[in-house]
């Protein structure tokens, strides 16, 4: 759409929820799909990790002629490698998944990237409607199919929500033929993660939900409703300072900022 805008999609190795097998990660696939929509052939797709990983071919099979791999050994921190890659290349939009399906899966990567690059982060986007030289119109995904349209100045990082366009089918042949640009990186072992002991999660028993609804419509609502916090207020007409103050107060109150 905008050949002069550089778009990068970051991809990771996913994990199938039923089989535990490596796969193209659900949200990362959507990040590539959105990237292809924005940049077409000019999209750069980057993975930090093992260039021999077969799953990368599944991303490449979405029609990428090449894929960039920042080579890293197992157990290394992807963040420094990605930061140095992004600072060295002039990038306008970085697309990631919301959280990885593997490893820590903390969902922190886009935040940490944004923090280190000093770029805005747009969380959980459903679509990027248009991109101009300075800014982009982005649709945020809200619960229950709602969308919010925001204008974001470039450059920025966006994490792609499950509401975004589903990743296209991957084709085996082009996936095999894609070139991998493997870049050697100074790798930093993730010391903290090294100390952790990882065990399989046990599903916690679910609390029974007693639905008292009388009609089908009520039951439908009860089944689909997201818990809505009772507090909070909507501020539309206040000045930015007032809004910022309100957020800051809330963060203090919730002990996020001390």
């Amino acid at each position: 759409m905008q050949p002069n805008v550089n778009v990068i999609s970051l991809v990771s190795v996913g994990r199938h929820p039923q089989s535990g097998r490596a796969r193209r990660a659900e949200q990362d696939g959507r990040a590539v799909e959105l990237g292809l929509k924005l940049a077409g052939k000019n999209l750069t797709v980057v993975h930090a990790g093992n260039p021999q990983e077969p799953v990368l071919r599944q991303y490449a099979g979405m029609g990428l002629s090449s894929l960039t791999v920042l080579e890293q050994a197992q157990g290394c921190d992807a963040l420094p490698a990605l930061v140095s890659f992004l600072t060295e290349n002039s990038v306008n939009i970085v697309l990631t998944g919301v959280r990885s399906e593997n490893g820590e899966s903390s969902g922190m990567l886009p935040y940490l990237l944004a923090d280190q690059l000093n770029w805005p982060l747009v969380p959980r986007v459903a679509d990027i409607v248009s991109v101009s030289a300075e800014s982009a119109e982005v649709l945020l995904a809200l619960p229950r199919g709602q969308r919010r349209s925001v204008i974001v100045t470039l450059p920025f990082i966006a994490s792609v929500d499950n509401a975004a366009q589903e990743a296209r089918q991957t084709a085996f042949g082009p996936g095999l033929r894609a070139d991998f640009h493997v870049l050697a990186m100074d790798t930093v072992v993730d010391e903290a993660a090294h100390q952790w002991k990882i065990t399989a999660a046990k599903p916690r028993p679910k609390r029974l939900k007693v639905v008292k609804a009388k009609t089908a419509a009520d039951r439908m609502k009860a089944a689909t409703a997201k818990p809505v916090g009772s507090g909070g207020k909507i501020m539309k007409n206040e000045t930015p300072e007032e809004k910022a103050k309100a957020i800051f107060d809330l963060l203090l109150e919730e002990k996020v900022v001390r």
């Binding site: 199938h16 039923q18 089989s19 796969r23 296209r168 089918q169 991957t170 084709a171 033929r177």
Partner: protein, 641 residues
């Protein structure tokens, strides 16, 4: 006589033109991919293949088989003799009389061709094909008159130059059709290409009553370099003898008449598909095609060229995805053309290169890749259905007489009823049986029919690796699709896991148990029963009798449907068709259920979980659908201790 030179000249000119045309045509075929063929053996075997195998298929329609023998045989004989008598001027009364006899035979045949063409059924192509009987008649009459003097019936020079001139015009007309048209794309092309197609057929095992139904594997190369294209993108990506095969089509439309997708109004007509392949490798459009179109797609817009991507303008992908791979067309084709191979070859391109498997296709393939079953269930839940069955698992017992291949029916509640019924029967007969449990993977059938041969081959190899670690004499499955893969397609991957192992469908196996007196069954007292032959059991594997014998052992006199055994109509469930779900005017399963209803049966017996699912999907009221294992289990006399 002044015009003595005219007839021989005409004949030789047309022979030369035919020769040029033949070389030109052969070069079109040679543009295809290399394929090893034993040329000499093929050529030597050709007459027998024609007289025996091809005739065997044609003979299902006695009218046309006799007509064809008279016309075709008469023509070939006459043409050879014409060369001797009229071109080389061999002066022999015997030859001349032989020629007269051949022409009479041909004339009689041509009369019947003519008769069939007076009010032709819709499956036949019209256009130039309507002219053919007239050309045949002209040929036989002309040369008959021309030969009379040589036979001594008429004096030399009878009729003078006027008759010679008239005859020459007629010769030109008929020989143009018979010789020139043969190699330049006229209706007679089928004789030339057909003969060579029989000689160089890609599946020579089919001749002499053999069966060859397994798809050929995609060559993924040596693992170092990746091939330029996987599957068939352009006509020249077919093997050369596949192109030759397409050219052999006589446009008889027998394939069209039996195709379930065509009958359902989906955009597929196997005859048109083969003609489009010809348009593709010869270049041009489908304007001159004079048969039924693909339902819902107008003629005249399809364009093709040898190096043009087929799905870009020649064939709509929906046409390819409508096929259920039921093989009814292949079974019925007198020229032994392989429609299913061609369709799957082109699907391979769409899936492996374009990533455009329609509808649920992409998701199913992704599930198979990630979980080894099409619905993405947890692999660790594969054996849940057998929690109460007390079945030994190979991992524990290492060997058994019978390995029960459960198939993905393990995940489906309806199919589980079939599995349990079969287990009950095996237990009653004290069969030494074990299952693979969670080690079993999807057979790869669906992935392969959807064109994803990479996934199929991966599954096949992993399944074979598992199988090779255990000892068993037989492998039995209730799923004809898995049966077909195990029996006919796993052999291509260089494993000896199935060597000396009998691969059996459960009806075959149960029939043996019944015959050996291992099952005590009480006669079936319900109403009328009919039997639906699953494509992958019947046409793919030739098992028509065991299910019928089993039903007979219960005292059931099967009320056969009009389309049964090798003519059975597909349930609509094969080839991934329910996944790609190309819309038509009707559903194939509904049509099959109408076949069932028309027998007056209150129950239809099947031998396939997929058929069960498809037929049970037809809205009620309708006859009951039951797998043969379920029917038998219901009649089992259980010993009480």
């Amino acid at each position: 006589m002044m015009l003595d030179w005219l007839v021989p000249t005409l004949i030789s000119v047309l022979l030369v033109l035919a020769g040029i045309g033949a070389v030109r045509r052969m070069n079109m075929w040679r543009a295809g991919q290399a394929e090893k063929v034993d040329m000499l053996a093929g050529l030597l075997a050709m007459p027998k293949r024609y007289l025996h195998d091809l005739h065997h298929v044609v003979d299902r329609d006695k009218y046309i088989s006799r007509t064809h023998v008279a016309t075709g045989g008469g023509f070939v004989l006459a043409m050879v003799l014409v060369v001797f008598v009229h071109l080389f001027g061999v002066d022999s009364k015997i030859l001349a009389w032989a020629l007269l006899a051949a022409l009479v035979m041909m004339f009689c045949g041509a009369l019947f061709v003519y008769k069939r063409r007076i009010n032709p059924p819709s499956r036949l192509s019209k256009g130039p094909w309507m002219r053919l009987p007239k050309s045949l008649l002209t040929f036989s009459i002309t040369f008959f008159v021309l030969t009379l003097p040589a036979a001594g019936v008429l004096p030399e020079g009878f009729g003078g130059w006027l008759l010679t001139l008239v005859l020459s015009v007629l010769i030109l007309m008929s020989l143009s059709e018979m010789l020139f048209g043969m190699t330049w794309g006229g209706p007679m092309k089928h004789a030339f290409a057909g003969a060579l197609h029989l000689a160089f057929h890609r599946r020579p095992e089919r001749f002499g009553g053999g069966r060859s139904t397994g798809l050929k594997p995609v060559d993924f190369g040596d693992g170092v370099s990746v091939k330029e294209v996987l599957g068939v993108a352009k006509p020249t990506d077919f093997k050369w003898n596949q192109l030759l095969g397409f050219d052999a089509c006589v446009q008889c439309g027998r394939c069209e008449a039996v195709c379930p997708a065509f009958a359902a109004g989906q955009p597929l007509n196997p005859k048109k598909l083969i003609q489009d392949m010809v348009v593709g490798f010869a270049g041009g459009t489908d304007e001159n095609y004079a048969g039924s179109p693909y339902p819902g797609i107008d003629l005249g817009h399809a364009k093709g060229a040898p190096n043009q991507i087929i799905t870009d303008g020649l064939i709509h992908p929906d046409t390819l995805w409508s096929c259920t791979t039921c093989r009814a067309c292949v079974e019925e084709c007198p020229m032994m053309i392989e429609h299913v191979d061609a369709i799957v070859d082109m699907r391979r391109f769409l899936t492996l290169e374009k990533g455009s498997t329609p509808n649920k296709g992409a998701q199913v393939l992704e599930n198979i890749i990630a979980t080894d079953n099409p619905n993405g269930y947890a692999p660790a839940s594969r054996t849940h259905w057998a929690a109460d069955q007390n079945l030994p698992v190979m991992k524990d017992v290492k060997q058994a007489d019978v390995l029960f291949w459960v198939s993905d029916g393990a995940f489906d509640m309806r199919s589980q009823r079939i599995l349990r019924a079969f287990v009950k029967l095996m237990k009653a007969a004290n069969v030494d049986v074990a299952i693979l449990g969670d080690e079993e993977l999807d057979s790869g059938d669906v992935a392969r029919r959807l064109g994803d041969d990479a996934t199929f081959q991966s599954l096949a190899k992993r399944n074979l690796a598992t199988l090779s670690t255990y000892q068993f004499n037989k492998i039995v499955t209730t799923d004809p699709h898995a049966f077909h893969c195990l029996k006919n397609e796993y052999g291509d991957f260089g494993s000896d896991a199935l060597q000396n192992v009998e691969v059996l469908h459960h009806t075959t196996f149960l029939n043996r148990l019944v015959k050996d007196g291992l099952l005590q069954l009480e006669p079936f007292k319900g109403g009328k029963v009919t039997y639906h032959d699953p494509c992958y059991l019947g046409r793919y594997n030739g098992e028509y009798e065991a299910p019928r014998e089993l039903l007979a052992s219960l005292g059931i006199d099967v009320a056969e449907m009009e389309r049964s055994k090798f003519r059975s109509r597909c349930c609509g469930g094969g080839g991934g068709a329910p996944i790609t779900d190309i819309p038509g005017e009707r559903r194939i399963a509904d049509m099959r259920m109408e076949d069932v209803v028309s027998t007056g049966a209150s129950m239809v017996a099947v031998g396939c979980q997929q058929c069960t699912a498809m037929l049970e999907g037809v809205v009620e009221p309708r006859p009951v659908v039951k797998d043969i294992a379920e029917i038998l289990a219901g009649q089992l006399i259980e010993e009480t201790h």
